[in-house]
């Protein structure tokens, strides 16, 4: 399970990296507000998946660490 989590995180990370490699140079005028909002919309699903997996993993780990 842990390996699965790490692998999922890695795939998310790499896909994000690849999707952003093709960006041109910075404009002189920068309004960082819009970019931060759009960025969250892009990574939101990944963030939701990672916390969901983490919470499930904790629950499973807790179940198995329980003493009989």
């Amino acid at each position: 399970m842990k390996r699965f989590l790490i692998r999922t995180g890695f795939v998310l990370h790499m896909s994000l990296l690849l999707s952003l490699l093709a960006i041109g140079p910075a404009n002189a005028y920068i309004d960082p507000g819009s970019g931060s909002i759009i960025f969250q919309a892009v990574v939101g699903a990944g963030m939701a998946i990672s916390i969901t997996l983490k919470l499930y993993w904790r629950r499973i780990a807790k179940f198995f660490s329980r003493k009989p």
Binding site: Y29, S34, G35, I37, A41, M47, A48
Partner: protein
């Protein structure tokens, strides 16, 4: 009745801070009413105040105070000393970042969200980081991104990443960039191996690229509403917490043996402590500024009598060590800050009045200036009469140590330069200071040629 609006409180239409006859007050405007009522009724305010994450306030029953758009006036708890993130050591900034995320996580649980994640909204009370901006919360808009995400990354994550991975002195970039260190600049300064870590890749690098890519866009969060679930918001907070927690900085060891160095014998340092403690017992100050405090040994002695001891030191490693000792020593009255006294914090921001200069945040009841005079007079060429005049503007009483030329520490300073300090001797020192202060006591320290003085401002 004198009413004065705080110079830093002008951006937010929800309200502002002002002083009336020396009492700190905050007006809440009608535009913010629904958010304020939810903060107070949801249990969020009570929980945050109970756990020392936010300053408390009293509602002032005085409608005559309010301007036309005013809804309520609050009297917030006053913080003992206002400090700024460019004066904090690594652990202070990290603790402030984690406190901000804790506050945001709790806000989300109560159906609210922080609309600001400014490091300037955090101040130190009793050794802990607390939120001072009661109007930072808004009702949670489900499905919308976190509006303060950019600010959190710029104010906290970027400086912490640079301090941890490049150089701790890069915290000073916050003095230039008052809205936090730009993410594209941070990405350029971080080494590639750090930039490729998932947390840095997402929150700094990809985030900066998205800012550049959409620089011309006019996207408001309503435009992407529904694309950022509550789970995503929780995931974002958790991811930022992981990113901040993973950043570490360990100070070098050069400060560790400072007091065990060649300045004092064991009897010498004990004698100096006894003298200083005696002076402070007599003065009974509420507010002490320890100038050039190193790791805060004498700040903690001052904290035995004073309510607030601000402990200034230029070396970030010494400030870090000082801060870490607060928890173990229990001296929560001590606030260690990074401050180069040869170039203290200036007035910054709009009209140079948003962030106060050091001198505007005083005067202290007592200044401690121990093992400091030679650094300023010989290391920085400040003439003794100028030094006396400038110190008299910072505090009402002064406990100061004169370190003569024959002292080994002064010999080190003079070793690489011509001795142009003809009046730098005990008589010259006393003459310069007597113009601005009454010298009330002087005690020669055991095992050295150093003298400690108690002076009061004329």
């Amino acid at each position: 009745m004198t009413v004065q609006r705080a110079a830093s409180s002008f951006r937010d239409p929800s309200g502002f801070i002002f002083e009336r006859d020396g009492v700190l007050l905050r007006q809440v405007n009608h535009i913010y009413r629904a958010h304020y009522e939810q903060l107070m009724s949801s249990g969020l305010y009570d929980g945050l105040v109970r756990d020392h994450l936010m300053v408390s306030h009293q509602e002032v029953d005085d409608p005559g105070l309010q301007h036309t758009d005013g809804f309520r006036v609050l009297a917030p708890e006053r913080v003992p000393f206002v400090s700024y993130p460019y004066e904090w050591c690594f652990s202070q900034l990290k603790e402030a970042a984690l406190a901000t995320l804790d506050i945001q996580a709790r806000a989300v649980e109560h159906g609210m969200s922080l609309r600001d994640a400014s490091a300037y909204n955090i101040q130190w009370v009793g050794g802990r980081p607390v939120l001072i901006d009661t109007l930072s919360f808004e009702r949670l808009e489900e499905g919308a991104p976190w509006i303060a995400y950019r600010q959190f990354c710029q104010h906290f994550l970027a400086p912490l990443a640079l301090m941890s991975n490049v150089d701790v002195r890069l915290a000073q970039l916050l003095r230039v960039h008052l809205d936090g260190i730009p993410l594209d600049l941070t990405a350029q300064l971080l080494p590639t191996r750090v930039r490729l870590r998932p947390s840095m890749q997402i929150h700094i690098n990809a985030h900066a690229k998205s800012q550049q890519r959409h620089a011309a866009a006019q996207t408001k969060r309503e435009d992407v509403k529904g694309r950022f679930s509550l789970r995503a918001l929780q995931g974002l907070i958790d991811s930022l917490r992981g990113a901040v927690s993973g950043l570490e900085w360990e100070p070098g060891s050069h400060w560790l043996d400072y007091y065990e160095g060649d300045s004092y014998s064991d009897e010498g340092i004990t004698a100096k402590e006894r003298v200083v403690r005696g002076y402070l017992d007599e003065l009974q100050p509420k507010v002490v500024w320890d100038l050039g405090s190193n790791t805060g040994r004498f700040s903690r002695i001052a904290a035995e009598v004073a309510d607030v001891v601000v402990s200034f030191e230029a070396d970030p490693a010494a400030v870090e060590a000082n801060h870490r000792q607060i928890a173990s020593s229990g001296s929560t009255a001590v606030l260690p800050l990074v401050m180069d006294l040869t170039n203290p914090s200036p007035g910054l921001g709009w009209a140079n009045r948003e962030r106060a200069a050091l001198g505007e945040r005083g005067p202290a009841d007592v200044l401690l200036a121990l093992a400091l005079v030679h650094h300023l007079a010989i290391g920085n060429n400040v003439p003794l009469d100028r030094l006396a005049e400038d110190l008299s503007g910072l505090g009402d009483a002064l406990v100061i140590e004169f370190v003569p030329k024959e002292d080994p520490k002064v010999q080190v300073l003079l070793g690489s330069r011509e001795d142009i300090f003809g009046t730098y001797h005990e008589a010259g020192f006393e003459q310069a200071f007597e113009r601005w202060f009454h010298i009330e006591r002087r005690d020669r320290l055991t095992d050295s040629a150093r003298t400690v003085y108690l002076m009061r401002r004329r």
